[in-house]
C-alpha cells in the first residue's frame, strides 16, 4: 500500500475479560445457555456505559450487543482525542449483526399473550416509541459518531461471519485513499439468542458461540512510545459455498494477501486461524508453525472475532519479547467466506 496504516489502539470485551492481556490467561469455563441448558456458550453480563461519554438513555435503549460495542469504543476515546483531528477526517466503519430481539418488545409480547383477541391494540400500546432504534445497527453507529465526533466517511457491514474484515478493509482504504486520517473500526458479536442456533441447525450444533466486542483505532501514525508497531500490510477476501471450490478460493485469498509484500506463506512468522477448521488448516499444513487463536478464550465471536485477534496481535507488540515479523490472520466462515489479513510488526527504525 502506498500509504502506511497502523493499528494505533484497541479495546476488547469478551468472556476472558476487558483487557487484551486477559486473552492470554486461563480459559474461562463455558456456561449453559439461559434458554437452552443443553447448549454451552460464553455469555457476558451487559456492561454499564460511562455516563460522561454517552447519554444515560442509551443504556436503556440499546441492546446488549450494542452496549458491548459502545463499552469498547469509550476506551478508545482518549487515544482518538489525542490525535487532535478535525471530525471530518475521522472515519467510522462497523461490523454489527442485526439485533435478533423481538421486534415488538417483551412487554408487548406479554400484553398480546394476555389479550390475544386485540393484538394490534396491545402491540401499539405496549411498544415504546423509540423501540425501533434498538433494532437498527445504524443507531449504534450514530451513537459512536456523536460521542466521538466522527463526521468522516462511514461504512456499515452486517454478517455473523466476515463483516469484521469488510469493515477493517473499508476503514483502511479510507486512510490509504486520503479521505480520512484516522478510522474507528467497531464490531460486536450477536446476542446469544435462538436465531444463532435455528438458522443453520446442523452447523450450529458444533458451534461454541461467545458474546463480545472489539474496536480498533487505525491511523497514519502508530501510538506514541511503542517500540514495535503493527501495520496493515495486505488483505484479500473471497467466497465459495461449494466444498469442491473452497480450498482453491482460500488458497487464492491467502496468496493475494501475501503478494502485496511479495511474501510466501513460509515467510510469515505467525498464523492466526481457527485450528478446528480442517479445510483452512489443510491450506497451511505445508508450513508448520505456531497457529494461534483466541477462540478458546472467547468462543466464536462472529463479527468481532477478527478485531479481537488483531487486538491481541497489537498487545503482543507491547510485550518485552516482541520481535519484528509478519502475522497472517486467515478466516473461513461456515457460510464460505474466506479472508486473509497480513500484519507487519516493525521496529520504529524500520519506518523512520
Amino acid at each position: 500500500m502506498s500509504i502506511a496504516v497502523y493499528i494505533h489502539s484497541a479495546a476488547v470485551l469478551n468472556a476472558a475479560g476487558s483487557e487484551c492481556a486477559d486473552l492470554l490467561g486461563t480459559p474461562p469455563s463455558s456456561q449453559p445457555l439461559a434458554f437452552d441448558a443443553t447448549r454451552r456458550a460464553y455469555p457476558l453480563p451487559t456492561p454499564r456505559l460511562a455516563s460522561d461519554l454517552f447519554d444515560r438513555k442509551i443504556q436503556r435503549s440499546v441492546e446488549p450487543q450494542g452496549l458491548r460495542l459502545l463499552h469498547c469504543v469509550a476506551r478508545l476515546a482518549p487515544a482518538l482525542a489525542a490525535l487532535n483531528l478535525p471530525p471530518a477526517r475521522i472515519a467510522l466503519t462497523a461490523a454489527i449483526p442485526e439485533v435478533d430481539a423481538p421486534s415488538p418488545c417483551w412487554d408487548a409480547v406479554q400484553a398480546i399473550g394476555e389479550q390475544p383477541q386485540k393484538p394490534l391494540a396491545q402491540l401499539l400500546a405496549n411498544t415504546p416509541p423509540l423501540h425501533a432504534l434498538t433494532l437498527l445497527n445504524s443507531s449504534v453507529m450514530a451513537y459512536v459518531a456523536e460521542a466521538l465526533q466522527c463526521h468522516g466517511p462511514m461504512g456499515g457491514f452486517c454478517s455473523q461471519d466476515n463483516a469484521g474484515l469488510d469493515a477493517l478493509i473499508e476503514a483502511c482504504q479510507q486512510i490509504v485513499e486520503q479521505r480520512a486520517d484516522a478510522a474507528l473500526v467497531v464490531s460486536s458479536s450477536p446476542n446469544l439468542t435462538p436465531a444463532l442456533y435455528l438458522r443453520d441447525p446442523h452447523q450450529a450444533s458444533e458451534a461454541m458461540y461467545g458474546e463480545g466486542a472489539a474496536a480498533l483505532l487505525l491511523g497514519l501514525v502508530p501510538a506514541p512510545d511503542t517500540p514495535i508497531t503493527l501495520r496493515i500490510a495486505g488483505f484479500a477476501r473471497g467466497y465459495s459455498a461449494d466444498p469442491q471450490r473452497g480450498a482453491a478460493v482460500g488458497r487464492g485469498v491467502i496468496d493475494r494477501a501475501l503478494s502485496v509484500e511479495k511474501l510466501r506463506l513460509g515467510d510469515v512468522g505467525q498464523i492466526v486461524a481457527n485450528p478446528e477448521d480442517a479445510q483452512l488448516m489443510s491450506l497451511i499444513a505445508d508450513h508448520p508453525r505456531d497457529v494461534r487463536s483466541a477462540r478458546a478464550m472467547t468462543g466464536d465471536l462472529g463479527a468481532s472475532a477478527l478485531l479481537t485477534e488483531i487486538a491481541l496481535a497489537l498487545h503482543h507488540t507491547h510485550t518485552a519479547s516482541a520481535t519484528p515479523g509478519y502475522t497472517l490472520l486467515v478466516s473461513h466462515s461456515r457460510a464460505g467466506h474466506w479472508g486473509a489479513l497480513l500484519l507487519a510488526s516493525e521496529t520504529m527504525e524500520e519506518h523512520t
Partner: protein, 431 residues
C-alpha cells in the same frame, strides 16, 4: 485516483411498478406512482394507522419470472425481491456465467423481518414473563422465512451461490444509505483493482405489522389521511412523513475495459462516491444538512468534478419535514458558488415508488443513470405547494427534458449515515 473507469452495464429493479426497470422508467416519466391502500397481513378491519404503501404487486409478475427459485426457496420477502432483481440485472448485462466467477456481490439488507407469530412462541404457558427459553421447545413452529431462520446476509449469499460468484460477498447495513453504500463500495473495489465485475444493490420490505408499527411509533411513517394515495409529497409544505415501498434493485458494475472487451454498452459511468456521518442525533438529521453536504462534496471530490458541472441531483427526498429542509440547505451550501443551485434539477423518486429503505439507493441510482443516458429527468410527483424553506427546482409534476452530463444520487440513512454517488453520461473518451 487510478484511471480505471467504471460503468453500469446491467440493471434490475423490483418495485411497486413491476419487475423490470423499463417499466419503472416508463411509469416514472409518465408521472405515475404506485402508492396504494395497504394494511398489514392479519389486520382485516383497516385499523392499522398507516394506510398507504407502495407494495410489490405480484399480479404483475411476468411469466418469464414465475419459475424463479426465489419464489420457492425459504427466504424473507425482501430476499425474494432482491434475488429476482439481481437476476434481472445480470441478464440485462449479458454477462455469461464464466464471466461472473470472480465477481463481487454487495448487498444491502434492511432490518430483519421479525414475525409476530414467532415472537408469540416466547410466551410462557403459565402466564409468566415471555422469554427465549419458552421458544426452544417449540422451535419446529418457527417460520422458515422469518428472521429467526434467515440471517441478514442470506440474500448476498443466495445471489453469489446462484451465480457462482467467488469474489468478495459483502452484506451492508447502513439503514437507508445501504444500497448506495453497496454501489459505492463496489465502484471503489473495481477502481482499486480488487475485482473487475460487481453486482451491487439491495432489497428491503418493511411492509409487515411489526416493522411498520415500529416506524409508526417512531413518528417516521406517515399516517396522514388527507391526500389519499397522494400523501407522499417531497418538499411540499404538506408533507407528513415517509411512505414505505418494498422491492429490490441491483446494478452490474464493470471496469470499462472489461465491459468493452465483451462488447457491452454502458448505461452510464460511475465517477465518485462520498459518505459521511451527521454525528448529531439518532432521530433527526443535522438541521443545516452538514452531513449531507459533506457526503455530496466528498462524491464530487472523488469524481474530480466541480460543483458547477452537476446538472441533476436525485434527492433523498423522503417527504419527512426534517429531511427535505436539511437536504435543501445542504444542496444550497455545496452548490453555493455562482448560486449554481438555481441551475440544478432536483428530483425525488420516493413519491413515485415509495421509500425502499435499505434498498432505496439502488433504483434511484438507476433512474439517475437513465437520466444521464436519455437527458430526461423524472418528476417529483405530488409536489404542489413548495415548503418556504425548500426553494429549488424540484421538477414538480412532470418529466423534464434537459441535458444531464453529470449527476449526484443522494441517500441518507437513519442515524445520520449519508452517501452520495456521482454519475456521468458515458462517453467513449473522458473529457
Amino acid at each position: 485516483m487510478s484511471a480505471t473507469r467504471i460503468v453500469i452495464t446491467g440493471m434490475g429493479a423490483v418495485t411497486g411498478f413491476g419487475f423490470e426497470w423499463q417499466t419503472l422508467w416508463e411509469k416514472m416519466l409518465g408521472a405515475e406512482h404506485c402508492v396504494r391502500l395497504w394494511q398489514p397481513d392479519g389486520v382485516e378491519d383497516g385499523t392499522f394507522p398507516v394506510r398507504y404503501a407502495a407494495a410489490v404487486d405480484m399480479s404483475l409478475l411476468p411469466e418469464a419470472l414465475q419459475d424463479h427459485p426465489a419464489w420457492t426457496f425459504a427466504l424473507e420477502k425482501r430476499s425474494r425481491f432482491g434475488w429476482v432483481a439481481a437476476t434481472q440485472a445480470v441478464n440485462d448485462s449479458g454477462l455469461a456465467p464464466e464471466q461472473l466467477r470472480d465477481a463481487a456481490v454487495l448487498c444491502a439488507s434492511g432490518a430483519p423481518q421479525h414475525m409476530l407469530a414467532d415472537m408469540l412462541l416466547t410466551q410462557a404457558p403459565d402466564g409468566r414473563a415471555p422469554g427465549w427459553q419458552h421458544l426452544m421447545p417449540r422451535a419446529g413452529e418457527v417460520n422458515a422465512d422469518g428472521s429467526l431462520r434467515q440471517g441478514n446476509d442470506r440474500l448476498a449469499r443466495v445471489i453469489a451461490d446462484g451465480l457462482g460468484c467467488e469474489g468478495p460477498v459483502i452484506n451492508i447495513s447502513s439503514a437507508c444509505a445501504g444500497a448506495s453504500q453497496a454501489i459505492g463500495n463496489a465502484f471503489q473495489m473495481i477502481r482499486r483493482g480488487e475485482v473487475s465485475v460487481a453486482i451491487a444493490g439491495g432489497a428491503d420490505s418493511v411492509l409487515n405489522l411489526d416493522t411498520m408499527a415500529a416506524l409508526y411509533l417512531l413518528g417516521a411513517a406517515s399516517s396522514e389521511q388527507r391526500w389519499g394515495v397522494d400523501l407522499c409529497r417531497p418538499f411540499d409544505r404538506d408533507r407528513s412523513g415517509l411512505i414505505a415501498g418494498e422491492g429490490g434493485g441491483f446494478v452490474v458494475l464493470e471496469s470499462l475495459e472489461h465491459a468493452l472487451a465483451r462488447g457491452a454498452t454502458p448505461y452510464a459511468e460511475v465517477l465518485g462516491f462520498g459518505s459521511s456521518l451527521d454525528a448529531y442525533k439518532v432521530t433527526a438529521p443535522q438541521p443545516e444538512g452538514r452531513g449531507a453536504a459533506l457526503a455530496m462534496q466528498a462524491a464530487l471530490d472523488d469524481a474530480g468534478l466541480r460543483a458547477q458541472q452537476i446538472d441533476l441531483i436525485n434527492a433523498h427526498g423522503t417527504s419527512t419535514p426534517l429531511n427535505d429542509v436539511a437536504e435543501t440547505l445542504a444542496i444550497k451550501s455545496v452548490f453555493a458558488e455562482h448560486k449554481h443551485y438555481r441551475s440544478l434539477a432536483v428530483s425525488a423518486n420516493k413519491s413515485q415508488f415509495g421509500h425502499l429503505i435499505a434498498a432505496a439507493g439502488a433504483p434511484e441510482c438507476m433512474v439517475t443513470a437513465l437520466a444521464c443516458l436519455n437527458d430526461l429527468v423524472t418528476p417529483t410527483v405530488n409536489l404542489h405547494e413548495l415548503d418556504e424553506q425548500c426553494d429549488l427546482d424540484y421538477c414538480a409534476g412532470q418529466a423534464v427534458s434537459r441535458r444531464v452530463d453529470f449527476a449526484l444520487s443522494n441517500s441518507f440513512g437513519f442515524g445520520g449515515l449519508n452517501t452520495s454517488l456521482a454519475l456521468g453520461k458515458y462517453r467513449e473518451h473522458t473529457q
